[in-house]
């Protein structure tokens, strides 16, 4: 096609390939973000409305029933005690949504992953792009959430803002192993409903969110120990009001969260490569 035309011609395939090898993950992240843009209002309403509703209901309403400032709550108000937990739980629930249904849509319902797969992008880049876009959403949502927490005066320490990253990390620690699982599902038998009800919900309710984990009998306390929500929440509490726990335990929280996220990312890459290479 050497005929003269109004539009400039594309750069040569070699240039396409070189750029895709380098920036491919970002190109796919751009696509996911464009899709999210269609849901801007839902995302904003959710990001702002949910924290305000929860902080009011639990932090103000429920607080009237509990003994504010008791030792059980680390010496701070009930609102300040649950704020980091709500921040982390919201991030984990968003991650649970973003790494399930859209992944299934990508492979099966809408087959959106297979479009870029026919371009120079590799499966690993497609996975990475999806993860990057969701990470950005988690950061944004957690930042808005934290702003609400701060307005409620529920973040006494100057380090509270770092809870935004703790929440995002917790979201990835839970979401990425789940993403690997989502990528392995070939037939929809309601698995996601089961994940939400038998995994996400118990983790939310038994992770020391509304009360210290020690209040639960040992029979269910272990749920907290393996829960990214608990590790994220405790980390958030240390940052937000200097929750008294051994520094080693704090380091363990970070290690568990990072470990789960890295493990999940690796599994996801492998799943994506195998599923798309068929």
């Amino acid at each position: 096609m050497t005929d003269a035309r109004a539009v400039p011609s594309a750069h040569p395939p070699e240039a396409s390939a070189a750029r895709a090898r380098r920036w491919g993950a970002f190109y796919y992240a751009e696509q996911v973000l464009r899709v999210m843009k269609g849901y801007t209002w839902s995302i904003l309403m959710y990001s702002v409305g949910q924290p305000v509703a929860y902080l009011f209901a639990m932090g103000v309403g429920l607080a009237s029933l509990v003994d504010t400032g008791s030792v059980a709550f680390g010496g701070v108000s009930y609102l300040a005690f649950i704020a980091p937990a709500l921040l982390v739980s919201a991030a984990v629930m968003t991650a649970a949504n973003e790494f399930t249904f859209p992944v299934m849509a990508g492979f099966k319902w809408r087959r959106t992953y297979f479009g870029p797969h026919a371009s120079p992008l590799t499966p690993g880049q497609i996975a990475a792009g999806h993860i990057m876009a969701v990470t950005l959403r988690l950061l944004l949502q957690s930042a808005i959430y934290f702003a609400a927490v701060a307005l409620f005066g529920a973040s006494p320490s100057g380090w509270g803002w770092a809870g935004v990253f703790a929440a995002t990390l917790a979201g990835l620690a839970f979401g990425l192993p789940l993403m690997a699982y989502s990528a392995s599902i070939t037939e929809d038998k309601g698995q996601f409903a089961l994940v939400m009800r038998f995994i996400v919900m118990p983790l939310f309710l038994f992770s020391g969110t509304f009360f210290p984990l020690d209040n639960l009998p040992l029979a269910v306390r272990w749920i907290g120990w393996i829960s990214p929500i608990w590790h994220g929440t405790e980390l958030g509490r240390v940052l937000s009001f200097g929750y008294g726990e051994p520094p080693l335990l704090t380091a363990l929280h970070v290690a568990v969260l990072c470990g789960l996220a890295v493990l999940g990312w690796n599994l996801t890459r492998r799943r994506f490569a195998r599923r798309m290479g068929q």
Binding site: M45, A57, G61, V66, K189, L194, R197, L205, F206, F211
Partner: protein, 280 residues
Amino acid sequence: MSTAASGTGQRTAPDEARNRTFGALYSRNARAVISRGLMATRSTNWLVMVSGFFEPVLFLVSMGVGLGAIVGDVQGPDGTPISYAAYIAPALLAVSAMNGAVYDSTWNVFFKMNFAKLYQGMLYTSLGPLDVALGEIFLALLRGMLYATGFTAVMGALGLITTAWALLMIPASVLIAFGFASLGMGITSFLKTFQQMDWINFILLPMFLFSATFYPLSVYPGPIQWLIQAMPLWHGVELLRQISVGSFTAATPLHIGYYLAMTAVGMLLTTLRLRSLFLK
């Protein structure tokens, strides 16, 4: 010619349909829709079915045990103190009835209509839209009743039931579900996209959190109390809470009346909107 038949006074099936109330909408065969629904449950994942029952139970165990240890006893509907678990259990049952009914009449109907195209197939037969709507609502209520029975049994096992009146929570939660299901289906008829479906959650979440579910209404200033009292879930929570201890007041018939009215309005709206809901 068909004029011969009608001339002799014999009435053909279409004639009968024409003279029936809601002839175009209803063929008195919701049974067919119900039996299809029951047949379909055989091939669905039973774990998913069972999982719906666990959600309120998990909330009850977590909040009732974990938080209950901190909160201690609270004032019950009849003024005597009860455990925190006994206080929130009826509220969680009301929330579960609401969530289940709303899910079945909104997301479920929306999906079957716009994606599975299930209703289009049904409406090519002699079924009318009202048969479909009644069938779906019946199925939702049946499921709600099973969950309510299970939850009441769990309450009994945890020692949270002290009176035989509490068994009435089962029919009462079916009434609550009926109100939400009929109104939910009417509202679904106005919605067209997934984004709009999201709005339903924006209404349910605050209702769940603020309707005296976890703490008494007296926490709020006056005007906010009135606002919450205008919302349906609060009436359900109060009704079930009263039934759970067998303590009834002048407000009891008001709560029941609220749901009867809500069901009537919902069914009227659904019937009026059925054409646009199913025959678009």
